[in-house]
């Protein structure tokens, strides 16, 4: 009896203590959640943890978004996508081969080092170093003859040839300046934030840099970038209030976010899906058969199936909407027309269709869904398509080696200029998985070269018009769909802008303007 009583008293005491601890724990966690995003800390959900923070390597959008918080270049982009001075306050072209930038007075790096012409020159030299992983290494090496310092605040770039796109390189987030006391492996930048703490694979915490050249910015003093690889979890975390803003909003969630009174979304049509072909072997060495494919695809179905209707058909080459180089007539060149597709099939010597393999990847739903719609579309004209859907790494390797008949790709230009299409169409460049294998039209290559060297806008328009005509005839890049690219955020948040067109991926630049309401 005594034993039983003691036991029951002990259990009761334990139970009481347990309940108390649980209540305290719950209260703590709820209180914690309520204050997870104070006004002084912004939480941004990245779509993946950056593979590396090396300043000049292209390691994806998530990495670029994180890097541009602590690293900045001479130029960058404003909220409307316009080029603006960053560490340089002005820039000008003295001659077709000379560009001079004036460095911002007082601009300095996080370690206190001043931004000088020598620091700029050193950064460019490191980018062009043969051991560098800089994505612009080849382009800069082919263009820059020498870098001079006419005075203590000016840098003059002497180019080997005229370049209309040199300013885009200066504005690229793959060309930031680093402190002379740092190196590529451990860069110290001059961005609005400095890295405060890193939990590798999970999050990067930033603190505002009080010496940032743009006084008063960043508006939010602390920034956390946390990786949420699962797109549905990113949306759930935003809805639950765990994070304030997310990138790569999944298309299937657009409706629910738009209906949610606490959330807002900023959407642009930026990246695009397209088909590329093996022009060395297989059926698509014949341009007529490529044309047949281009006219048979039901692009609206791709937009519906792969992007839940959030995008638009791309009936020509990837000239972004709103670009001064875009011609609406040629932009709608390939409307679905099965009769015309059959005519091209017949002209290509395959009136009854043929069998072929379409390379895509099962790793990304949009690539797989696009491939499935293309497969169904082409069945209507007798082209029997077998889907090849390896993981992304294999798809890249197979694509680079040209081991495919035709393939689905998704991409975006580096900047909003027609020259960014050169990577998909200029056959003088080294073979790669983003361009049709073996495609090489010397005239197209020459027109890209001319467009790059021409500074007059009217003349450039004429050049790209001619290039577009040839490329449409060759059908080595067949546009399929523009896809919407969205950022979603909690309503009190203001100041963020999704940059237009291809620059959507650069939108992380505007985080410095964000306030929490």
């Amino acid at each position: 009896m005594t034993k039983d009583t003691r036991n029951s008293a002990a259990l009761s005491r334990r139970g009481f203590m347990g309940a108390g601890a649980a209540a305290a724990f719950a209260a703590t966690s709820i209180a914690e959640r309520a204050s997870a995003q104070g006004r002084d800390r912004l939480v941004f959900a990245l779509s993946s943890y950056p593979p590396s923070l090396r300043p000049w390597a292209n390691t994806g959008t998530a990495a670029g978004t994180a890097k541009c918080q602590f690293l900045r270049g001479l130029l960058s982009y404003g909220p409307k996508g316009e080029i603006r001075g960053e560490l340089a306050e002005s820039w000008s072209s003295d001659s077709p081969t000379t560009w001079t930038v004036r460095l911002r007075e007082g601009a300095r790096f996080h370690d206190g080092e001043a931004l000088t012409p020598d620091a700029v020159r050193r950064s460019f030299e490191l980018m062009q170093d043969e051991k560098s992983t800089a994505s612009l290494r080849g382009a800069l090496g082919a263009l820059i003859d020498r870098i001079e310092a006419p005075d203590a605040r000016s840098v003059r770039f002497q180019l080997k040839k005229p370049s209309a796109t040199f300013v885009y390189m200066l504005a690229s987030w793959h060309a930031p300046m680093i402190s002379p006391r740092s190196n590529e492996a451990n860069p110290v930048g001059a961005g609005p934030y400095r890295i405060a703490d890193v939990e590798r694979g999970t999050r990067i915490d930033f603190d505002a840099f009080d010496g940032y050249w743009n006084r008063g910015l960043p508006r939010t003093k602390k920034l956390r970038m946390a990786a949420y690889a699962d797109e549905n979890l990113r949306v759930a975390a935003l809805d639950a209030g765990d994070v304030d803003i997310i990138e790569y909003v999944p298309w299937q969630s657009y409706d629910s976010i738009e209906r949610n009174a606490k959330l807002a979304m900023d959407v642009v049509d930026g990246p695009f899906m397209y088909l590329n072909f093996n022009c060395v072997q297989g059926p698509f060495t014949n341009a007529k058969l490529r044309q047949a494919v281009a006219y048979a695809i039901r692009r609206e179905d791709v937009v519906k199936a792969a992007f839940f209707g959030r995008g638009s058909a791309m009936n020509g080459l990837p000239f972004p909407k709103g670009s001064e180089f875009r011609d609406e007539a040629t932009a709608n060149h390939w409307r679905t027309d099965l009769d015309l597709a059959r005519k091209f099939l017949a002209e290509g010597g395959q009136p009854n269709g043929f069998s072929c393999k379409l390379l895509s990847t099962a790793q990304y739903g949009m690539h797989k869904d696009t491939a499935e719609v293309v497969q169904q579309s082409l069945a209507a004209i007798g082209i029997r398509v077998e889907l090849v859907l390896p993981d992304w790494a294999t798809r890249v390797a197979v694509g680079n080696r040209g081991q495919y008949d035709f393939g689905v790709m998704g991409s975006a230009g580096d900047f909003n200029d027609p020259d960014s299409m050169a990577q998909f169409l200029d056959g003088s460049q080294t073979p790669n998985y983003t361009r049709s294998h073996g495609y090489n039209n010397p005239k197209v290559n020459e027109l890209f070269e001319q467009g790059r060297a021409e500074l007059d806008v009217a003349r450039r328009k004429a050049i790209y018009r001619e290039m577009e005509k040839l490329a449409l005839e060759d059908a080595a890049l067949v546009g399929v769909a523009w896809r919407s690219q969205a950022y979603a955020m909690r309503k009190p948040l203001t100041g963020f802008a999704n940059l237009p067109g291809f620059l959507s991926f650069y939108s992380g630049l505007t985080l410095e303007n964000v306030t929490m309401g």
């Binding site: 959640r33 997870a36 090396r54 390597a57 390691t59 992983t133 694979g201 975390a237 790494a393 975006a412």
Partner: protein
């Protein structure tokens, strides 16, 4: 002593075999880490740059030379550095392994706390309405994929009720309360499936024990039913249950991928998947080897324990 040495030698041989296999398999599957690393922005890299990076990463060396380097590193217990940012693989595993183990332990505790008592109750009331209900519920639980359970939990408890975060991770040292809140849902998600296994095993084992002669004898002696169950049935039923739990925990070591993904829990499984996607050879090799070494070590301990418990094993 000879037995112990033989078991240790076999264990080392096993680890060497796995190390060699993973080394070869990784290099046989398509996908070049240098190519991927330089093209992750969707822009194709310059082949000269790819070649230089391959040389820097040691991927251009003959396979045999790469293998010798790899084995040399292994002998020094050095798992190398990540191809993407030169971070030591061992350090990253040391950070992530405890997180996965913590998740598995938390899930196991929950699963045992729920599955075992319910299994006993179901066995003691064999054929009753409660037994049938519990068995039906177990079947239902077992048919639920973890990503469905996880997503539902997020929807209900994070988005609607807002009791817990949707996912993520905060170190215990940084914020214990937040850490445990983040741990709760992934642990429950694993525990739902695991508790079913524990429930079924406990029920079957208790039923089997209840039919034993010595249980009948205990009852015939007039012992109280509660006493019979506690002292004679439960203790003798737990052996197979504990074995199954141990096996399940071992499987979970590399099998929490989906849960880690759904809840953004930065453990070892998620690390392995990302490393495979990136063809990050040192990371994949390191993770697989550590998981393998843990399995081999656990098996070795079990083998040695058997030998201690049963002399026939060491002499046979």
């Amino acid at each position: 002593m000879a037995y112990v040495l033989r078991r240790v030698a076999i264990s080392i041989g096993l680890i060497w075999t796995v190390a060699t296999l993973i080394f070869l398999v990784l290099r046989m599957i398509p996908g070049d880490p240098a190519e991927l690393l330089l093209s992750s922005g969707g822009v194709a890299p310059d082949p000269a740059q790819v070649l230089e990076l391959r040389e820097r990463l040691g991927l251009e060396a003959p396979l045999l030379q790469q293998y010798a380097t790899f084995m040399g590193q292994l002998l020094r217990l050095d798992l190398g550095t990540s191809l993407t940012d030169d971070y030591p693989v061992m350090d990253e595993i040391a950070k992530r392994l405890p997180r996965t183990i913590e998740l598995i332990l938390a899930a196991t505790i929950l699963a045992v706390a729920v599955g075992m008592p319910l299994g006993v109750v179901a066995a003691l009331r064999r054929g009753s309405g409660m037994d049938r209900t519990l068995s039906a519920a177990a079947s239902f639980n077992q048919s639920l994929p973890v990503f469905v359970t996880g997503t539902l939990l997020i929807l209900v408890f994070a988005q609607h009720l807002r009791w817990v975060p949707a996912g993520g991770y905060v170190a215990f040292a940084q914020d214990p309360a937040r850490h445990l809140t983040n741990l709760l849902m992934p642990a429950v998600t694993i525990a739902i499936g695991l508790s079913t296994v524990v429930f079924r095993m406990t029920r079957a084992s208790v039923l089997e024990t209840l039919d034993r002669d010595w249980v009948r004898t205990a009852r015939a002696k007039g012992l109280a039913p509660r006493h019979v169950v506690r002292r004679h049935v439960l203790r003798n039923s737990l052996g197979p249950v504990v074995t199954v739990i141990g096996l399940q925990m071992g499987t979970l070591l590399g099998g929490t991928v989906l849960v880690e993904y759904v809840f953004n829990w930065p453990g070892l499984s998620g690390y392995l998947v990302r490393a495979v996607e990136q063809r990050n050879y040192p990371e994949v090799q390191g993770i697989v080897l550590v998981i393998c070494a843990l399995f081999v070590f656990l098996n070795l301990v079990v083998d040695l324990l058997y030998a201690v418990l049963d002399p026939r094993v060491r002499h046979g």
